[in-house]
């Protein structure tokens, strides 16, 4: 395993610990006597310290050491939890998070750590320890230890050098130091490279490896004799040493009853590559099935069938491997909600439901930001101030719920609040004023309302914050969700609250789709949105107020012509697909339905450029390209 891999492991593990720390801080804030939370904090910070130390991330190790001491004092009852202390702890965790992100660059030292620790020490009674002074010193002279990792593959003893912060012509000093080492043995690697070092005009930290019989003391003395050296670290022990990290196995660190399975960590890129290959395989299978269909040889048919089944199994396994529970992203929201609520002077009870629902990793990464947006909007515009709530007879504390639930092939992510709801009249007036809706329209249902506030022009209009409802960035949220092949639904009740639901395919890369032909072109309709298909008979297709409609059983719904949608000149229009999203339905008249197929979704630029009717493209079994219709935009 190379250093980069350790670094990646460190990062992933640390993020888990950070999530744990945030969770524990939140429960500590709610209950200052929460012994369990303090123990968790202490342990998580301790784990981080150990890992940072093993990686040689000095600043990070020292910073976590400080936090550990403070948590120890909380645990022993020496330090009393106050709101100010909690704020400072939260601030420290933010700094820690930044440090983890930048651990490889400078030992994890980030500027934010210094004021945060100062504040903590002040609140804790100003007991600056000798370790704290060591930390301050490290922060002043943070050594980028990345250098040490890049000489990992060479033979010899690892030597790390940091020059004095006031070194003159440090490049020359570095050159001299390396020459001094050369006089004692063979230098096998230097990082940064000697050329780069020699050009340096600011004091440097560098690492080298040397094969030598000289002992550590001799090496150190030689390097110091080059002048202006602040720190030399010669790895002890014979020859090459590597940084090591204890990788905790999931079993060890799990709390009782959760996550008991053993796990292997896989880089996301590797998983993506695997998914791409499976996607190609699925396309090839489609072609194989088509090409061999007419051969009429039972043995060929059998092999093709077996292959097809194996590809399906493989695909399912890969897709399952990509699934991660939503808590991996949801877990950071309580903290964000807390901060936003405090900032906006709201009292919020935040409830998270369906944490265990699984979603494709890449989708989950993508929805984090939109969900943050919706949560913020709900706190800012949806929930009333405590005083207002009391005045209208509601509980003082607002309720904000984030839930994940599975619905057939979709996963629904819903943000709902019990706030004041969106003021329809106000949105309608604004929409009239801006010319977004015809003045004759006087009734707005939820979908029309949503279409209106999700219009880019609407949300960027002035006075947005004055709107008693959403509007801020809803267009961005919708655009993102559409790119992912999903849709957004809005429900709002005056005085009762608002909910926004993101409907997402549970896997991103491969979806089942119905293929429809218009003229010579094929289009894919994701099955998530297909309700049923019917034949286009004279009974079914009628006209109402000059517009075509489909009469299906007792229901009447608008009928769109695929050839109009995709601007084909002619078409036969023999079959109809009923598409639905939420409670809205629309019928689509197509020339022919040519089958169902698993398609590999490839993003297309048109989606980003705002071409509203397509959400992506795919390649069909016969090798022909097909565009994927965005059902949401048809409704």
């Amino acid at each position: 395993m190379d250093a980069a891999r350790y670094a990646e492991l460190f990062r992933t593990e640390s993020q888990e610990q950070l999530a744990e720390i945030n969770r524990a801080l939140l429960s500590l804030e709610q209950d200052a006597d929460a012994a369990h939370a303090v123990t968790t904090l202490f342990r998580a910070v301790h784990t981080l310290k150990g890992m940072a130390g093993s990686m040689g991330y000095t600043a990070l190790a020292e910073f976590t050491h400080e936090l550990e001491s403070l948590f120890e004092r909380v645990r022993s009852g020496d330090l009393i939890v106050t709101p100010e202390l909690m704020d400072a702890f939260f601030g420290a965790v933010d700094a820690l998070e930044q440090g983890v992100e930048r651990a490889q660059e400078g030992g994890g030292g980030v500027p934010a750590m210094v004021p945060v620790l100062e504040q903590l020490h002040e609140l804790a009674g100003g007991r600056a320890t000798s370790e704290y002074r060591a930390f301050q010193h490290t922060m002043e002279h943070a050594i980028p230890l990345a250098a040490a990792h890049s000489v990992d593959d060479a033979e010899g003893i690892l030597v790390r050098v940091r020059q004095s912060s006031d070194a003159m012509l440090p490049g020359v000093r570095a050159y001299m130091a390396i020459e001094k080492v050369r006089a004692l043995g063979t230098v096998t690697a230097v990082s940064p490279t000697p050329d780069v070092l020699q050009q340096a005009t600011t004091p440097q930290a560098f690492a080298l490896r040397v094969v030598t019989t000289a002992d550590a003391a001799t090496l150190e003395a030689a390097i110091r004799s080059a002048g202006e050296v602040a720190e030399v670290h010669v790895a002890t022990g014979p020859g090459r040493t590597r940084p090591t990290v204890e990788v905790p196995v999931a079993v060890e660190q799990s709390t009782p009853g959760t996550r008991a399975a053993r796990h292997v960590r896989i880089e996301t890129e590797r998983l993506d590559a695997l998914t791409d290959l499976v996607g190609e395989l699925v396309i090839a299978r489609g072609r194989l099935v088509q090409l061999t269909a007419g051969i009429g040889d039972a043995r060929v048919d059998e092999v093709v069938q077996t292959t097809a089944r194996l590809v399906s199994d493989l695909q399912r396994e890969v897709m399952t491997a990509r699934m991660v529970p939503v808590w991996q992203v949801f877990d950071r929201f309580p903290r964000m909600v807390r901060d936003a609520a405090r900032q906006l002077g709201k009292e919020v009870e935040f409830i998270v439901e369906g944490k265990e629902i699984e979603l494709d990793r890449s989708l989950l990464d993508e929805i984090g930001e939109p969900v943050v947006h919706l949560l913020r909007n709900a706190i800012d515009h949806g929930l009333e101030s405590p005083e207002t709530r009391v005045a209208v007879g509601k509980p003082r504390t607002g309720r904000l719920t984030l839930s994940a639930l599975r619905d057939r092939a979709s996963v629904l992510i819903r943000v709902s609040d019990d706030g004041k709801g969106i003021d329809r009249e106000k949105v309608l007036r604004r929409a009239h004023a801006m010319g977004f809706v015809d003045p004759s329209v006087t009734v707005f249902d939820d979908d029309a309302l949503f279409r209106c506030i999700a219009r880019p022009g609407f949300s960027t209009a002035d006075q947005v914050s004055d709107l008693s409802g959403r509007g801020v960035g809803v267009d961005a949220v919708q655009a993102r969700v559409r790119e992912l092949g999903g849709s957004v639904e809005l429900r709002t009740m005056p005085g009762m609250g608002t909910s926004l639901t993101l409907r997402l395919p549970s896997t991103l890369a491969i979806v089942r789709a119905l293929l429809a032909r218009s003229g010579a072109e094929h289009y894919a309709l994701p099955l998530t949105h297909v309700r049923e298909t019917v034949e286009a008979t004279a009974d079914a297709v009628q006209s109402m107020q000059g517009r075509p409609v489909l009469v299906l059983r007792d229901e009447v719904m608008p009928l769109l012509l695929l050839r109009d949608v995709v601007r084909q000149p002619t078409g036969e229009g023999r079959e109809i697909v009923v598409l639905e999203r939420g409670e809205r339905r629309v019928a689509l008249l197509v020339d022919e339905l040519t089958g169902q197929q698993e398609i590999v979704v490839k993003p297309i630029d048109a989606v980003r450029d705002g071409l509203a009717i397509f959400s992506g493209a795919t390649i069909l079994g016969d090798g022909a390209p097909a565009l994927i219709l965005d059902v949401g935009s048809l409704l």
Binding site: M168, L169, V172, Y175, E179, Q199
Partner: protein, 120 residues
């Protein structure tokens, strides 16, 4: 017995200044040179424990002078006096056999540190 020093610089001001710093610290300035050629000649004659050598001097620069001196006495201890921004020249001087360097404007403490390293 105090260590002996030969100071080489084309500017009187610099020679005086370096001389003062060293004398105040108890070193004995046994000679001064204004050019590289003079420095080589005086080194052979005086055999000082230490030479301070300006890099840019007329009639043989400091680097060539270092080469000549080291050729004559491989154990010679030469301290280069450089201006800021002369990295490449300093490296060349070190390669020629100089032991250390100080950067102008001189700070007495730094000069003495370097002298001690060289003589140490």
């Amino acid at each position: 017995m105090a260590s002996t020093v030969l100071i080489c610089d084309d500017a009187i001001f610099m020679r005086t200044m370096v001389g003062d710093i060293l004398q105040q610290a108890g070193y004995e300035v046994v000679g001064e040179a204004e050019t590289g050629a003079q420095a080589v000649e005086k080194y052979k004659q005086l055999r000082p424990d230490l030479v301070t050598m300006d890099i840019v001097m007329p009639d043989m620069g400091g680097i060539d002078a270092v080469r000549e001196i080291v050729k004559f006495d491989p154990a010679a201890r030469v301290l280069m006096c450089s201006a800021m921004g002369q990295q490449a020249l300093v490296v060349e001087a070190i390669q020629a056999g100089a032991k250390d360097f100080v950067v102008k404007p001189f700070q007495p403490s730094r000069v003495l540190e370097a002298v001690q390293r060289v003589l140490g």
